[in-house]
Amino acid sequence: MIKFLILVNKQGQTRLARYYEDRTDLSAEERTSQEADIVRKCLMRGEQQCSFLEYKGSKIVYRRYASLFFIIGADEEENELAILEFIHALVETMDRYFESVCELDIMSQLDKAHFIVDEMIVNGCILETNKNLALAPLAVLDK
């Protein structure tokens, strides 16, 4: 299952974070420092290196879009390429909704961004990858 999904920019600021496994042991500070740690590891890697890492027992799959890193941490079972493409599907869905999405959009309309994520991942499992269906409830919300 997917353990977490975070969007962090190059300065280490988290723009969106969703955790799908119990994280009672992490305080807010530890959480942010862990997120920054992961981002630093991703930043250290070059363009030519692969998008997969290992961090504290989970697989990390990341993809960079302009200034934002989309990072997903998953357990050993998950298929890395599937997750990589899921990130892209998520970005395309956001793209369609926000009309050419950028970091600022996500920051200023955090509620919509969360909503989209919640339509596509539930309880750590990939649920809906059809862009129309994922965006449908959002249209209801906007009315």
């Binding site: 079972e77 493409e85 599907a89 309880n123 990858t129 129309n132 906007d142």
Partner: protein, 682 residues
Amino acid sequence: MAMRGLTQFIGDIRNCANKEDERKRVDKEMANIRKHFKEATKLTPYQKKKYVWKMLYIYVLGYEVDFGHMEALNLITAPGYSEKTVGYLACVLLLSETNEFLRLIINSTKNDLMSANEEIQGLSLACVANVGGREFAETLTVDVQKLLFNPQARPQVKKKAALCMLRLLRKYPDNFAEDGIGGNQEQKDKLLDLLDDSSLGVITATMSLLLGLVSHNPELWPDSVNKCCKLLAKLNHPNASKEYGPEYVYYKTINPWLQVKVLRLLQYYPPPEREEVNKRLCEVLQRIISETSMGKNVNTNNSAHAVVFEAVNYVIHMETNQQLIHAAVNMLGQRITSGNQPNYRYLALDAMQRMSHIPEAAQQFKRHQETIIRSLKDNDVSLRRRSLDVLYSMCDSNNSEQVVGELLDYLAGSDFSIREELVLRVAILAERFSPNLQWYVDTILKLMSLAGDYVSDQVWMRVVQIVTNHEDLQLYAAETCFKALKNEAVHESMVKCGGYILGEFGHHIASKRETSAEEQFALLKDKFDSCDQNETKQLLLTAFIKLVNVHPDKVKERVVALLNHHTHTIDAELQQRAIEYLVLSRPDKESMLETVLDVMPNFPERENILTKKIKERERASTTDRTANQIKAGKGGEDDDEDAPTVDLSAGAAGSQTRPKGAGGGGAAPSSGGGGGGGGGGV
């Protein structure tokens, strides 16, 4: 629905010049919110929403938010849809499963589940699916199940209900088993029928649910195999996109995520028994593996290959289909040499490592040995790790010298995080595939000189076990250790290892002048003075007294002087040994000395401590058991990795004797137990 207050706040935060300012602004806002929440009843829903959103934003930024949970919960009970969204989201983000607040919303979620409005149902289902705990499971399972199996429910609701079920079942595992859904045939059939639903969203969600169920009790769901094969064939059929809708076609592959899940479920079961199902499955797999090529578009490639690699996993699981194995090996061979595609190289290396236990595949992978060795030196740490794994699996008696040589070179320049594991693996490989035992001793000694810090005690103790049990190796071991210890800067593990070996087997080389007893004593005394750890000193004391036993006239005075020196030392163990050995060295105790320090008996055959250590390090952190874990649980007895590879009993031809004194093997040594996992009597 843009909340101006929120946008303003976000803008302010962005304009903050540094962390200090940001913190001040956040604190100010928190005080503001706290003030407003105190008069909670006077807030309009819009305002409540706004403040809760600000709170959430602060939380995502990384500050602790320890108030306002009640207001968030209250929003859930509000009638408006937008308020409910915020309320549920706040609960999911801020509260974790064990938080008591969560109990308060069980009732409101239950009401929302029954609501006529599907969006609201969806909201509450998602919330329970993401944070539901055991109490949720107890109260809500029946309701969720009703929603799932209701034929009139919209797909939107059904798919979330399926994932919600998964969470509830995980929290309350009894529901998985015979007395829950597992035993109820009617419910099982209904669940499997959901796989024929027209909406791929529902099918995807059901697959996830099914995967969870199967991983807990594979024996309860044998019918799922046929259904899955049918589904896979349907998805790969050229008409698939027309049937399920073009939206699901993601860069020319139809819903790769669903296909991956189906393939994963199939790995929990042996290949289908029915002939035609099996045949169709193999055809589909063959097409997937052989006909997917690398095109120009990254995303197309990725989505197609996601399915390919999962298919390869299934082929590895099946193990018997030669044609498929051949196809998979070809494909992997191509991917591993794809120069500028590091992702594929990574995955190909990973798949190769898992495939190398299949003999036909392993043979063909040898062709790529050079490429793998080159990847070992790649500047991408992930690739280096994978190639290390592959080399370890690929090593056999033919290429062991080369592989171990490469690994030792790599060790010299590797980063510290993997050194310990690397050392363990080299030690195991050296033992398992050594062309001769001398090479084994050399390799371990080289290992110690290269990465002494990471050589745990078990590694050199293993060397001792092997040397003890092979009489013909003892001379060589003593000579090599002596030479190695002559170096100035020697690592402490080397001192321990060499000290023990010289003590026990030094008599083999004592006849030569350069390595006489006096020389051995001088050498060890030198190290004794310069070593740090007390354990080393203790070990060396035992070695000294063994020297006295063998060559009483030559070294006794000096050893006694040394022992006298340490009778008042601070370390208790050292002191005890010094005093005891002093007593033993007295002339009237000569026979006792001989008995006590008689030749060590051979070590019995037991599980190699090193392989045990490697297994301990492989942690499982998944919530469901993987297919491999289930297999490992069943087939544990067949696993022959445990069999000690160097036959410990091979060298035990009769009793070994020391030159002086008639030793009959098997007298108990002085301190420490005999034989076994740790080195005895050091």
